[in-house]
Symmetry: C2
Subunit: 356 residues, 2 copies
């Protein structure tokens, strides 16, 4: 793909590590503005240097405080950090963005930290894809660590968490989420558990419950997450597959359950230590490569679906054709299924052409 | 499309209004089992008889209790009701399903009520589509009212709420959701506001705030919800467009703000009255037809994207091709964008063939 002049110039500024170029690149990618795909394609060969850490958990688990603690610890170790904070819960609450703005101020002058918060925009599938793309920009810029923070309330968070090399799940004693209610999907993505606010009553019990459940988990064969609509590829669980691969080579990772009191900075060093140990395990066992290959596979699927949508729904003739058919659809003489087949028959040629 | 024998038999049982046939039809559609599209296509000409009411709001707003109240009131008026309860928030909480099971028991013997709860499965986009399809089955079965209840925490809930003829948004005084944090999307989909638990402190203030915001809203031109990835079709706001259409004919709907105490059954009759008035307004203004046309349009788009995914990702050769390319993707010599274009070039012919 020949690069357009503006993207070429942006890349030059990007290579000179100009903060303004980073912010611009993130915006272009986040909003899928013209050239976003060229930019990501240009960055593709540099990806994989950063370690990606996912942090998820229910509202109130203290994720912002935990990630602020992680950022400070990484900076103290002279590592640069990019943070992507995702909050798709926002029609009713604006909390995460506010917390983010406060954090922004405390690190605004440190060029070794970049924070971008992303709220719901369009479909949630789109949000997961965009989060991954923004993480790629940060990776391409050269950040040592990328922290992907999500409010854990839905499937999209699981999708987002699966992008990480290491997924940290934060729980709190009083969140009222008895461990029994943790869904299998969440248990499966967790590489490290944190019991935050561990100075509160019930922390020991929660830790014990999680460990018990992990014991059960490690003792059993992993079940597949049920596939949706028979389209198994996107529902495939890379963590599970990679774990199974590692297990067959004789090594297994048992997620540690770490108490922290993030507001007092307690337990953060242990958390960093656990994340590092997990990464070493990933490298040693071959699971890192397996996870990253699976992510590349998912990425191709994502781009294909994105291109299909763009090519079909931006086409005026296709849209006009649907409009023409509305009367038949309304009267019931045409079904959406027959219309869809006819649409693909007539507009399918758009999909195989190499222009977006 | 020629109907297969098993679907033909199911339709016969369905027409005989056998409850087992309904449950089976819902399961087939919910899980996209073989024949689901034939079934939905067969039902398509009968759709549109039921009135669809959406009920959304933050966790703790008392949605289950409200919908139980609505079901009882509809039954008292001799109307049959199908309920689809959607809870995509479930990796951390299992609340809605439990509540649902309790409700199930109280109406289990009433053939005039059918309740199906749906949790997250696969992508959230998929969940919204499946919810619509299950609602179509209930409509086709002949229920008078369809209640679509969602925990309002994300974009998918807005998508689901937009399927309804009338969208009810439930708030509570103590939910801590000051009205300022209500996102534009949510304000725009609400046709009726409910202040539930209205006997608690702060209810009057919340009512006043919502009314104030509605006053501001009605006085302004509606803004578009920002489109994602430039694919505007799916992000189009049918309610807004339809409201604008109705407005140009001189009539406008101002969402009422109704206090209820659902646990005591207070305010439910007023709520039913408001929903009925809104439906009458929809019919009179032409907005009902506009909304339903827009939904048919979205439905075609949805089925097209579903078929594209099924045809591409169930194809062994396409999957094998991606696997072959993983080494190049890993080394950085091939980008996901170039891979996607090549994939569409080689597999695009799958999309135009009329087999799913």
């Amino acid at each position: 793909m020949a690069m357009t002049e503006s993207i070429r110039r942006l890349m030059a500024d990007f290579d000179a590590r100009r903060p303004a170029a980073l912010a611009r690149a993130v915006s272009i990618v986040e909003n899928h503005r013209r050239g976003f795909d060229e930019l990501l394609a240009a960055l593709h060969p540099r990806l994989g240097r950063a370690r990606r850490v996912g942090l998820t958990g229910p509202p109130g688990a203290g994720k912002s405080t935990l990630s602020t603690g992680l950022v400070a610890a990484y900076r103290a170790a002279n590592l640069t950090v990019g943070v992507v904070a995702v909050d798709p819960t926002s029609p009713f609450t604006g909390g995460a963005l506010l917390g983010d703005r406060i954090r922004m101020e405390s690190v605004a002058l440190d060029p070794g930290v970049f924070i971008r918060s992303m709220a719901t925009r369009g479909s949630l599938g789109g949000l997961a894809a965009t989060t991954r793309e923004v993480a790629d920009v940060l990776d391409g810029f050269g950040f040592d660590r990328i922290l992907i923070e999500t409010v854990g309330v839905g499937q999209s968070e699981l999708d987002i968490a699966r992008m990480a090399d290491t997924s940290v799940v934060a729980l709190v004693p009083e969140s009222g989420d008895s461990i029994q209610t943790l869904k299998a999907g969440l248990m499966e993505i967790a590489d490290v558990f944190v019991i935050n606010k561990a100075d509160r009553p019930g922390a020991d019990r929660l830790k014990h419950e999680v460990e018990l459940m992990l014991g059960l988990r490690m003792g059993h064969t992993f079940r597949d997450i049920p596939a949706h609509h028979g389209v198994e590829l996107r529902s495939a669980n890379p963590a599970r597959m990679a774990r199974a691969a590692a297990a067959s080579e004789g090594e297994r990772w048992t997620p540690p359950v770490l108490p922290t009191v993030a507001v007092k900075g307690k337990g953060i060093d242990d958390l960093i230590g656990a994340i590092d140990r997990h990464f070493a395990y990933l490298e040693r066992s071959g699971e890192l490569r397996a996870r990253r290959r699976q992510r590349l596979r998912e990425r191709v699927v994502e781009v294909v679906e994105d291109r299909v949508r763009a090519r079909l729904w931006r086409d005026d003739a296709t849209n006009a054709w649907i409009d023409e058919k509305l009367a038949e659809l309304e009267s019931g003489t045409l079904t959406p299924f027959a219309a869809a087949d006819a649409l693909l028959e007539r507009s399918g040629h758009l999909l195989t052409r190499g222009t977006t």
